[in-house]
Structures are given as C-alpha cells and as structure tokens.
Subunit: 313 residues, 4 copies
C-alpha cells in the first residue's frame, strides 16, 4: 500500500474531525474510522461510515420507540436466536460503507454480490494508477490436481521466477502502452503535442486484469455476513479471502454480539444433508458405516468425514 502525501493528509483531516451526534455510536469502530489498512501488495481497506450497532438489531427486532435494549444477557440471547433461526431482517438495519482498492479480477468476483451499493473509480473519466497485483512468492500456487477450482503446491525455482517476471513485465508493458495511447498526463495536458491521444474509455482496454481499481462499497450487515460466509471460506480464492478476513476484524469491532453469533452459527457451523444426517444417526447408534452403502457419493462422504473430524468411516 502506497498512499500519496495528499491521500495521507485527507485521511488525517477526516480522522481529526469530531462531531456531536444523537446516533448510536461505536467507539471501537470510531477508533479505526477512515484508517487505511493494507491488503495484498497495493490494496487498501477502509471503513468510511456506519449506521447502527448491536443495539440497533435488538431495537428493530422489537420495533421499539427507544433503544429497545434491555440487559446485555437478554440482548445477546435475542441476537443468538435471530441468527440461529435465520431471522435476517433485523441484521439489515445496520449498514456499513467501505473504501476498497483491489485488483480488477477480485473486483469482478466481488461485484457478483448484488445487494450492495457501489461507486467505482471510472477509467472512462480518469486515468488509473500504475499499480498491479503481483503475488508474493508463497502464493504462486499450481493448479490443484484434485479440485478443478483450487490451488495446489507452491511453484518453485526457475518456473516461479519466470512466472513472476512475466506478470511484472506484461503488466508494465501494457501500462506503458496505455500511457502512450492516452498521450496526456494526470492534469489532462498532452504529452506529445503532435499526437491527438486515444479516448480514455478505449485506452483502458489495454490494461491487464491485475491492475488495481477502487470503489466505495456499502451494504447492510445481513448481506455482509452472507458475503463473508462465502468469501472468508477456505474455498474462496486467496486474493478475495484476504479482504474478507480483514473485514471480519472490523465487523468484530463494530457489532461484537452479532459477530460472535455469526461465528458460532454460520462460520464455524456445518450443514448436514438428509443423507449426512442419517449417517450421523447411524454412527451415534454405534453402527459401523462405510462409504459403500452409505447412500453418499465418494466426495460427499469425504466432505462429511472431514466435517466430523474422522479420518475414515
């Protein structure tokens, strides 16, 4: 992450302000408000604004005239109950806004979560920065041999070196062409007065998908939890998971009770199918069960045994 002095000054100014408000306020989140957290090599994650706290969930569930909260223990019990029984609407009453800088290929996965508001930096109007994601050597993974969308062992030696070099030189060459085609500097002044320069909306097509873009992204807590349950999952691509993991820490500061319920009922939980449940019951009854005759496919069986922490049936 490299912030320009101007960006640093803007962040400092935002952090320096203090206003009086009657709204629910969360000191632990205020502490890091506007602050830029680094993700990947040039990525950034910042909380820009938020609405509500744990109490707002309780308040909405009770449709109350006041805070709606009672004793901490009762509030915690209610939030647990809502999470466990998937009463999702009270969690929609909290809202959060992030500023994210991220590689385009990550942005393309992220945007598939439709229930969010987004303002992206426009390469039709503006010029993108010369910044590309180059994986750290220990994330340069091979294709998994057992999973069509997973990663296997880390590349090593000459192959790793060559891959990194290709990623770097291709990104840079493409960016150099982009700049040449634009024929303008950041202030819009022509670089070469003899040439006209290609429209920004066209020139950008020459960039590689590891170029960084940025956006404001705003969503409610229920949809954020849904996003996090998919993107903080071990099946998610590392490059988006690392953002999700950084967000988890922020959510924990913001709504500790809801976060705790989320962790226990969603993140750490497991879904058993009808077939899986039947196996568990048979195992509990002391029966020996093997994959053959279990009614589960080899893959489902493997997934179930893994979830139950058993090497084999």
């Amino acid at each position: 992450m490299t912030l320009t002095p101007d960006q640093k000054a803007e962040i400092d100014a935002a952090r320096a302000q203090s206003h009086a408000t009657r709204r629910a306020t969360v000191p632990a989140l205020e502490e890091i408000l506007y602050q830029a957290f680094p993700v990947l090599d040039h990525g950034v994650l910042r909380v820009i604004d938020y609405m509500g706290d744990d109490g707002a969930i309780v308040q909405a569930a009770r449709v109350s005239y006041g805070k709606g909260t009672r004793k901490t223990l009762e509030d915690k019990g209610l939030i647990d109950y809502l999470m466990r029984h998937r009463h999702t609407t009270p969690f929609e009453m909290c809202e959060i806004k992030f500023h994210v800088k991220l590689p385009i290929f990550v942005a393309r996965q992220w945007i598939r979560h439709r229930t969010a508001n987004v303002n992206e930096y426009s390469a039709r109007y503006s010029i993108l920065d010369r910044e590309f994601y180059i994986p750290a050597p220990d994330h340069l993974a091979a294709q998994s041999r057992i999973n069509r969308q997973g990663r296997g062992a880390v590349l090593e030696g000459e192959e790793a070196r060559k891959v990194l070099e290709l990623l770097k030189t291709d990104s840079e060459r493409c960016y150099a062409s982009y700049e040449w085609m634009l024929n303008e500097d950041e202030t819009g002044k022509q670089t070469d007065p003899e040439r006209v320069g290609l429209a920004r909306e066209l020139a950008r097509m020459n960039l590689t998908i590891n170029a960084y873009t940025q956006w404001y992204w705003k969503t409610d807590l229920h949809n954020l939890f849904h996003f996090l349950s998919l993107r903080a999952d071990s099946h998610a691509q590392y490059e988006i998971r690392i953002y999700a993991e950084a967000m988890l820490e922020m959510v924990k500061r913001w709504v500790p009770l809801a976060f705790d319920a989320f962790k226990r009922y969603r993140l750490g939980g497991v879904h058993l199918s009808a077939g899986g449940l039947a196996i568990v019951k048979r195992l509990l009854a002391g029966e020996k069960v093997a994959q053959e005759g279990s009614g589960l496919s080899a893959r489902e069986w493997r997934e179930l045994m893994a979830a139950l922490g058993r090497e084999e049936g």
Copy 2:
C-alpha cells in the same frame, strides 16, 4: 397520535444522549432525530438513524480518500449534474432509517418498494393496539367519475355521517372480537380462565385493514427519491402521500443540495414523449396544432396541455 408515557420516556432518553463521532453529521437532522411527527389520526413518522450527508454523495462520486468536497458551488454543480444525468449510484451512498406507524392498507402499498429493509411489528407474536384510521370528514371522497383510480368530490350530509359511523363501528366491533378470541391481556394473562384463547396468528385475521401497524423502514437516498417521486405525486392515494410529504421535509433537512436538485429535476419536471416533443416543436415554430392530427390520444393531449399550462391547443 397518542404516545404512552413509556414511549415518551423512551424517546426523551434517546434524544438526551450525545456521543462524539468522526462520521459526517447533519445538525439540522439531529435536531429532530427520534422525534415523533404525527401523520393521519394515529400515525407516526420518526427518523431513527442516518448515514452520510450531501458531502457523502460528492465523496462517492469522486471515490476520494477524504471528504471529496471542494467549494460549495462545485459540489452543488456536481450533485445537479448527477441528478440530471441519472447517475444514481452516488445517491445510494446515503442511508436513512424511519420508524413508521401506518394503517395496514397504506403499509400494503408502501411495501411494494422492494429495495428497502423492513422490520414490521408482528401480530403473530404480539397484540396490535386498538387504533384504526378513520378519515377526517374532508378526506371522505367519492369515486372520481373521470379517473378509475382517483377521488372526486367530498361526501356530505347523511351519507358522510353514515360512512364514518360504519367505519368506526365495524373497526371497533372487529377489534372487540379479536380481543375476545385472544383471551389474554397485554401481559399474556388469560382474561377468562375458562377459555383457552385463539392463537395470535389466527385471531389477527379478524382485524380491519385500517388497523395500524408499525415498522422500521430503512433505505438509501436514491431509492427514497424514487419512492417520493411516486408517493408525493398528486396521483398517489392521499393516505400515503401525507407520509411522503412529511418525509420530504426531513430529507430537506438532511441533504439540502440533493433535495434541491431532486425538486428541480424530478418533482417539478415533466417527461415529454416523442409525440409530445414533436407537438412542442411545432408550437414553438408558430404552428397551430389541435388534438386531431396531433398523433396523440385525447388523454395524452389533455395531459400535455396541462403540463404546458395551456387550456387548449
């Protein structure tokens, strides 16, 4: 509007709190935060929370690291531009939450706006209050003779008196049956120990549609503008329009620049069809144009002339 002493105390307690925050804060809206504004005979409208201000629109449009705002004049120009060209996403970066008490038939229209978060008071869990909407005598309108969904003249004399009486007695009788069937008081205690009492989720079906319900309703500014452009419109039913009008005042306090742009480009504007535009051009060219030969239907012609403030062509 009738608040119980408990409700008043809850509101006062919420209004008495003051926290320090780094978030964008709008003093004019803080002033009325949590306050209960009466709508119709028993309805209530309250702003419960908000996120963002005019500056947040500018900030999102610029995807900036800081406030994004420059001179007031430039910000105003940008907001006008965004509104005029229907760049809607920056307006989605502001969010507001209302507490609303409203008749069920109004709630049924309101809920059709799907891009909002809602927590409604549940008559499956709880007992509804003995409150029904009875129109004021000057809103007791006849069916319009020219418009299938409009209102005509106000009812008068014996017919008006009889209508009001029917509305009152039917609502009250239905509520009395509801209470009898429930066979419990607000604390859940059986009224008549000899009887079991009907489940709340069933008993409620005996209430009339003018009974009041309440909910927390949260939406972003873009979708709120869409709601207001439809519901503050003269074609909207009076009983929902009156809520929309009360909301307009609140939005004006919250985001005065965006509100002003909304008023000029959306509320006060008019949409001309291809045919309507052709007529305007012919009129401007000094041509005499009549409905016959205009290519517009009688109704479209009437609507166009009304929009242009002309009695006839």
Copy 3:
C-alpha cells in the same frame, strides 16, 4: 375454491391452445398448466408460465452453446454439486409464474420475499369479491404455551363455535358495509341513485384481513427454493405452508433433478452450529454429554437432540 363459469371457460380456452416452440418444454408441467388447484377454503394456485427445465441449469452452469446436458447421471451429479456447494446462480436461470388467490394476511407474509415480480389485483380500481378465509375447525388452534409464535391444541366446543361465528359475522358485516359505502355494482352502476358512493381506495379499508386478494407472482428457481425452505417449514404459519406444499408438487413436476437435490440437501438437512458440531464429535467419540457443560443453551440443546433423533443426551 369457487370459479365462475367465465373463469372456467377462460382456463379451458388457455389449456386448449397448443403452439410449436423451440424452447425447453416440460410435459409433466404442461399437463397442469393454467389448471386451478384449490388451497384453503377459497384460495387458488395455478402455474401460468415457466422458463427452463433441469437442462437449463446445466446449460447455464456450463455456459454452453447448445443444451449443455450430457448423460443424465452427469447432469444429476452436477446439479447435486451446485446445490450442495450453494452455487446458486444456475438455478436462477429457471423462472416460473403463478396465479395465486390468498387471504390478505397470508399475502402480507408472502410479499416479504422481495426477489419476485408481483401484480396484485387492485382494490383501488376494482371491487374485491365477497370471500373470506374461515379456518376449518381442526385448524382453530390455541396459542402455543411454549413458543411465542406457534400454535397449540385445537379449540373445542363452545369456544370454537363462538370463534367461528365471530369470524364469519364480522367478515360479512364488514363486507356489507363496504358494499353499501361503494354504492355501485360490479359494472360500476350506482346502487342507490340518491347517494354518491365512497371512493374504492377508501371503502376497502373496512375489509377484514382474511378477505381474499389475488396476484400474479413470478420468481426464479433459486429464490423459489429459498421461499419454500422457509414457508414449507414446520415453523411457518399453516395458512402459508399449505400454499408452499402445493408448490412443492409443482416444482417436482417441473425440475425433478433440482427438486430432488433440494429435498436432500436443504429440506431434509440440518445446520449444526460450531457448538452443536462439537457435541456431535464428543458423542461420536463415545463421551457422555449433558446439557449442563455442553456450552449450549437449554433451547439449543433441545433443538440439537431433536435433530439427532435423541430423547436426551
């Protein structure tokens, strides 16, 4: 369910038509297309249109140029995989449209599912039929004593008789007032030429919430599964569950492979929290576990034991 001769004739005419199409077509669903299935005492459920079949899910998952389907076994395996791993977008590629007649209080629960398209019969324009939901005697349940939103035993004897009478007479009296206030027959002719008649949008407020309304409701298969997983669940109110159950049969005709996967992985499955999973692991290891010391609340413990089919720990 009472269809007028006109409605019957309309349905027969729709069912009599046959067109040639290149689109994916499902004979088992065509068989019942447009047909009116009775639900509750006056409710109706009809499939009006559909798009796609099991093959369309496979086709979308493979983004293919043709049908995308291969051997039935492979297709089934892919659909199972998509359902198990919550790859939801291929299921969104199938769409279905229903015509539903349902009590207003059921419609109010139903409409909370926002990701659907709806056209409701408008009581602002039109006059509602004289039809109200009156529960069958064996659905006249008392409030549950252990569950705040559930039903307990069935009412009996004099109390049951009185409840049914109240429901009937109140609905009918309210409808009679509605008619009197409207002062018009179905063709719009004034009943009493001496009176003006109240606007339809106002008169309707006197109806009870068990009055029937109707709508066209269209959604995609993924969102329909979500709806069904909540509304065909034993915690759902009987009066909406009965619609969900009728829909399950229709979905089974439409997309048998997807339906089967839904049944096994969602309907018949169970979600274990982190705490619940830990208990299962301890039980499988042969440990004796009781609620005290389990880390689960009494209620969670009860729910877990029920899911595992164990009376006690």
Copy 4:
C-alpha cells in the same frame, strides 16, 4: 464472430427441435431463437429462452384467469397507458435470457445492472479463448475535448496505426504468457512435463481487459427496458451500445406493442426539469429568452435547446 464446428452443430441441434406447448409463444422470436448474431469483432448475442409476450403484460395488469387480452386496440391502449404512467410491474411479467460473448471491459459496465441473473464462464475453472477486441479503425476515437467521458474525432495516420499495433501485440503477448504459465492444453494435459503450471485462477490475471468472456444473462422486460434506455443512449460507450442496439431488434420481434410504447415514451422522449419547463412556457408565450436570466446553467441551456431542436434561444 468465429464459431467452432462443434458450436455450430450445437446451435443447429437446438434450432432443430420442436415441442408442443400451452405457453404463450412468439413466432417472430422463435425464428431467431438460439441463432448467433455477431457483435463487434468476436462478440456474440443469442436469445436462449423467453417467457411471455405482449399478451402476458395485459394478462398480468388485469390479474386475469385467462389470456386477459381483448381487442388489439384496447391491449395497445393499456400497454401505452402502463408505459406512460410508469406502471412497471406488468412489464416484469415477461422474461428473456441471452447468451452474450463480450469484452471484459464491456462486461464490467453491463454487470452494474443488478436486477438480472448471470452465469459467467469461469476463468477459475476453464481456459479463456485467444480472442481480444480490437476496435475497427473508424472507432478509434480521441478523447472528447468538451465532454470528460466522451469521444471526439477519429485517430488517423501513423498514430492510429501505432495504437492498433499496440493493442494487438500487447493482447497477444499477454495471452502467450497466460498459456505458458498455465502449462496445459484445453484437455488439461501438461504442455511441458518438466513444469507444474500456475493455477488458472492466478494465470488469468495476466490477460488484458479487451479479452472476451461470455455469460448467460436473464432479466425481465421492465429491467431490460431500463438497461436499453441507458445503454442504447448516445451517451453510452459505443462498445456496449452496439449490443443494446442488437437487443432492441430482438425485443421488437418479441413484444412489438411494448417495444413501440417504449420507443415513443422513453427512447424518443425527453425529460424537462422545472427550470426547463418554465423556459418552454415562456417561449410558447412568445417571449424572447436567452441563457442569461434563464435560470439554467450554460450546459443545461445547451441541452434544452438541443432537445427542442433550436440552434439558439
């Protein structure tokens, strides 16, 4: 557009099928169903499926038991009325599904329309084709000098030649590196047995944004009209507008009455702000009005005069 023999065969097979259906069917659209229409240099647009026709709009608006349609003239009048008064829900009752092959930078604009279902070809699982968008020489536009997001004159001579060369060689070099890093052919076989090969989800990041992707995209008619009103507009980027224009032709085949209403009331219409309307009224009253003193900014004034077809005030 280059279809492989396999793709051609798949399309032919799909087009050869014919089923009997009771559903509303549109022969003019059936005619081109599944057919691949070329867009840009390698893009494809195909209609894959549809639900409903003009009659389905009328049927939903009337919540009818049968087709709901009456005389063509009445149906047309109703559809016009719905479009003019923005009664949008009946248009949501028609659904259409496209297969689209498009450059990634176009896909990134397209996906911002959130109310649609999408299945994109996954570069995490699969290998993208060696196809990039290279603009035709007459679309190689310079940045507009008056509009920050528009295009100006077409590049010529040496500059044009050089731009095209850069776009081609950069795309190709990046693709060659992509292939080398993958180290596998289409069947998944290693190219160089000495090397491991980089995971697909990583290798793809080296592609340029003009690489082609493809997806299934499904939406309802109301949201499609919204998409088309923005993307078939002269302010839209040429590379997405050309897809929108191809879709317009398909919509015209599908729902000719709704399309005609859309063209007259939306596409060919113009929105006047409160200020713009005031100017029109003054002009119609015979007043001379100039920008100064008009209350409009220079830009708004220019836009208004252009809409009214006047060179100057």
